[in-house]
């Protein structure tokens, strides 16, 4: 089988000074040039960043490759180089076939033009030929579900309609190689599902896809292979479920406690500041891992800086290894009381035993006030702490004597009633 994409030692360097100059004025740049010529230059603008460093991989024809990594890891730069929007500093890449790239939906939409006119404009921008667009026009309009508004200028569209039309054009792009960046993260859930279905059909027809996403479930579901990029380098390349698991585990490196010694830099606003968050066991000790049969506490320390009309309370959100939300929970006890007096509070949420599934868990925390129906997050921290749930396999957890993979965000130990009826 031949390769659709071959990437060899691809590197891309950005000069920090250069990037800053882009936001500066001409005068700044002239003074800097003058300083350099007269030898008075300070070395501050010589700093360089390698957004990509010696990246090599190949994608076979018909393969669906997922690219994962944190923000700023180099995923988008990789995509920008492969789509030729920017050129690499060194290395090379070869792409064989008609390429379609989707770095966002609705690129080049003009708000003065009608829906129909924008289909033609956007289609051309995405690389479709006029005949091709004409042939697909009916399908595109039908898929968008906004037939009635095709002759209305898109500036009169709601944002939902806009996205539907934009995605509909994108979904009808039929290149041999598709490079996609996170575009599925738009629209309502039902529409997203439809788009995902469309992607699956697309990859089912033997076409090559390179897909950047933050949604691990989508990566698992759609991709044949995944690569994980960090700091501009490939960390791992292999089976998507392995790569996803390793990636998620690594991003839990923040550990099971975090604190902000300086109030000024702590997350929060004029009302509340987060001071510390810890994962503790029943004895009150900080733990990295917890037995599935034991309760685990998320202890938050925060400062209330002034009086407010409503109580100030803690809220947590637990996410599983796939990045799916297991649950949201908030301190309902404080909520029921009167306003909180200024001072330092410690609030601990106890997660009951036999609730979470095994594996890494991530906790987002927030300090909130409630002006019903609005919940205001006054201080918040995503991925504040992490911990891992393990099951020693003694047979008294929900796993019983089973040792294989038990899927699910939660894994409660249920009451089973069984009787023989015949």
């Amino acid at each position: 089988m031949s390769n659709a994409i071959e990437v060899q030692d691809l590197s891309k360097r950005y000069r920090l000074g250069q990037m800053q100059a882009a936001y500066g004025t001409l005068r700044d740049s002239l003074t800097r040039t003058a300083a350099r010529l007269t030898g008075h230059e300070q070395g501050h603008n010589r700093e360089e960043i390698w957004a990509l460093r010696d990246v090599s991989f190949t994608v076979r024809e018909g393969e669906v490759l997922g690219v994962i990594g944190r923000n700023g890891a180099g995923k988008s730069t990789l995509l920008k180089v492969l789509t030729r929007i920017t050129s690499p500093t060194s290395g090379r890449a070869v792409i064989r076939g008609r390429v379609g790239s989707l770095l966002e939906v609705g690129t080049g939409f003009n708000s003065e033009l009608t829906g129909r006119e924008n289909v033609f404009l956007n289609g051309s921008i995405l690389g479709m030929k006029r005949r091709e667009i004409q042939r697909k026009l009916d399908d595109i309009i039908e898929f968008s579900g906004i037939e009635k508004f095709m002759d209305t200028p898109v500036k009169r569209y709601s944002s939902g309609m806009y996205v539907r039309l934009a995605f509909s054009v994108a979904a009808h792009l039929e290149p041999e190689i598709l490079l996609v960046d996170e575009v599925l993260a738009v629209g309502d859930a039902e529409f997203q599902q439809r788009c995902l279905g469309r992607m699956e059909t697309f990859s089912g027809t033997g076409r090559t896809v390179l897909f950047v996403s933050h949604n691990m479930q989508t990566i698992n579901q759609l991709c044949d292979r995944a690569i994980w990029i960090d700091g501009g380098r490939i960390v791992e390349d292999g089976d998507p479920s392995d790569v996803v698991t390793h990636y998620l585990r690594s991003s839990y490196a923040t550990g099971s406690q975090i604190s902000w010694p300086d109030d000024k830099t702590a997350p929060g606003d004029d009302l509340a500041r987060l001071l510390a968050v810890r994962v503790i066991d029943e004895a009150g000790d900080v733990v990295e891992t917890i037995d599935v049969r034991e309760p685990v506490g998320i202890e938050m320390r925060f400062r209330v800086l002034r009086d407010d009309l409503q109580p100030v309370f803690a809220k947590i959100r637990v996410l599983d290894r796939q990045g799916d939300i297991a649950f949201n929970a908030m301190d309902t006890r404080t909520q029921a009381e009167g306003p909180s007096a200024p001072g330092v509070y410690v609030s601990t949420a106890w997660i009951p035993p036999n609730l979470l599934n095994e594996g890494p868990q991530r906790v987002d925390v927030a300090v909130c006030t409630l002006y019903a129906p609005k919940l205001h997050q006054r201080a918040q921290r995503y991925e504040a702490v992490t911990f891992t749930v393990f099951d020693p396999g003694d047979g008294d957890s929900a796993r019983g004597l089973f040792t294989g993979d038990l899927r699910g965000t939660v894994r409660p130990l249920l009451e089973w009633s069984v009787e023989r009826i015949d």
């Binding site: 089988m1 031949s2 390769n3 071959e6 060899q8 950005y14 250069q18 990037m19 100059a21 882009a22 004025t25 001409l26 740049s29 190949t58 024809e61 018909g62 920008k80 180089v81 492969l82 789509t83 030729r84 929007i85 920017t86 050129s87 690499p88 500093t89 060194s90 290395g91 090379r92 890449a93 070869v94 792409i95 064989r96 076939g97 008609r98 390429v99 790239s101 770095l103 966002e104 690129t107 080049g108 003009n110 003065e112 033009l113 006119e117 033609f120 404009l121 051309s124 921008i125 995405l126 690389g127 030929k129 006029r130 005949r131 091709e132 042939r135 039929e174 041999e176 027809t205 033997g206």
Partner: protein, 322 residues
């Protein structure tokens, strides 16, 4: 669909290799099955598109890939179409403005410079002389302004999709040609009123002088849009330049009425050549000084070549610096 995949795979096995040598071979010989594979006949037009793209660091020497430009001609057409369609959207008078603007400008010039200041106009009636200067000058102003800002005003495209960026300034100088065509009746009416008709052979050269304006606008447009991709000074700088330009291009007076020594200096400005040429071609004025015209054309061509070279050499970095 299955059959499609199977054929590609079989054929692929022979060429499957990750070495660079194999890559360049594939480039030279596109696998033959690609032309016959696709069972969906109506998509056959997709096939010629199939090609190998090699991405590598941008070369130091700028060159213009004409084949690639040709490949993107439909996008160019679509971008021009967009700008033409959008131009007078949500205006009460619509495309009438394309006639009104030169007509009103000519009117003001006639009153201020023709009547009060009594500018020299040679043998031709002042209103016709001025209109023949105003119309190409208005084209140039519009073309230069939009080509200089073309990269920035299409920022979303530049940072999100690939296409030869040359299309943007190029499209920007084409769009105002539509205005110019719509404005021509203003000149024709004045020519009829003052009964100044051109030499029939000279008329044929009018498009050539217009082309001189296009090339000049494009050359400076390349330079300024490259500059504007990094610094946003252009929108402040350009209007000053464009206000002075009609004064030194002979829009409101006949150039051959000024001292010859000055005429040579003015010929460094290609727009003075454009206007003198137009008046000769359309109004039957005296033949332009061909020596001065050669200077104008050389300046325009140098600007064009220089502009294109600079534009192309900065092109790979536009998406990073814009």
């Amino acid at each position: 669909m299955e059959a499609h995949a199977a054929i590609v795979r079989c054929a692929g096995q022979t060429g499957a290799s990750s070495s660079i040598a194999a890559v360049s071979q594939t480039q030279l010989e596109p696998p033959p099955e690609e032309i016959i594979v696709d069972p969906r006949d109506d998509e056959a037009h997709l096939q010629p598109d199939r090609r190998t793209v090699v991405i590598r660091p941008a070369s130091r020497w700028p060159h213009l890939d004409v084949r690639e430009l040709w490949h993107y001609r439909e996008l160019m057409f679509r971008l021009v179409w967009r700008d033409v369609v959008v131009r007078y959207k949500q205006t009460f008078l619509g495309v009438t403005w394309a006639v009104l603007v030169p007509a009103l400008t000519t009117g003001v010039y006639v009153i201020v410079f023709g009547k009060f200041a009594n500018f020299p106009h040679g043998n031709t009636a002042y209103p016709a002389l001025t209109a023949a200067g105003v119309i190409p000058m208005q084209y140039f102003t519009s073309a230069l302004t939009s080509s200089s800002t073309s990269l920035v005003s299409n920022l979303q495209l530049v940072t999100k999709v690939y296409f030869p960026r040359v299309l943007l300034p190029l499209g920007a100088v084409v769009v105002p040609l539509f205005d110019l065509i719509v404005a021509l009746p203003v000149l024709l009416v004045l020519m009829a009123v003052y009964d100044t008709w051109p030499d029939s052979a000279a008329v044929a050269t009018a498009p050539a002088f217009l082309a001189l304006a296009v090339v000049t606008a494009l050359g400076i447009g390349f330079l300024l849009s490259t500059f504007a991709a990094r610094w946003r000074d252009v929108p402040y700088m350009l209007p000053v330049f464009l206000q002075v330009l009609p004064l030194v291009s002979g829009v409101m007076y006949a150039l051959d009425q000024i001292p010859t020594k000055w005429q040579w200096i003015f010929s460094l400005n290609p727009m003075s050549g454009v206007i003198a040429g137009w008046r000769w071609a359309l109004l039957g004025e005296a033949e332009p000084n061909w020596g001065q015209m050669t200077v104008s054309v050389s300046v325009a061509l140098s600007l064009f070549v220089l502009g294109l070279a600079i534009f192309r050499s900065f092109e790979p970095r536009f998406a990073d610096t814009i």
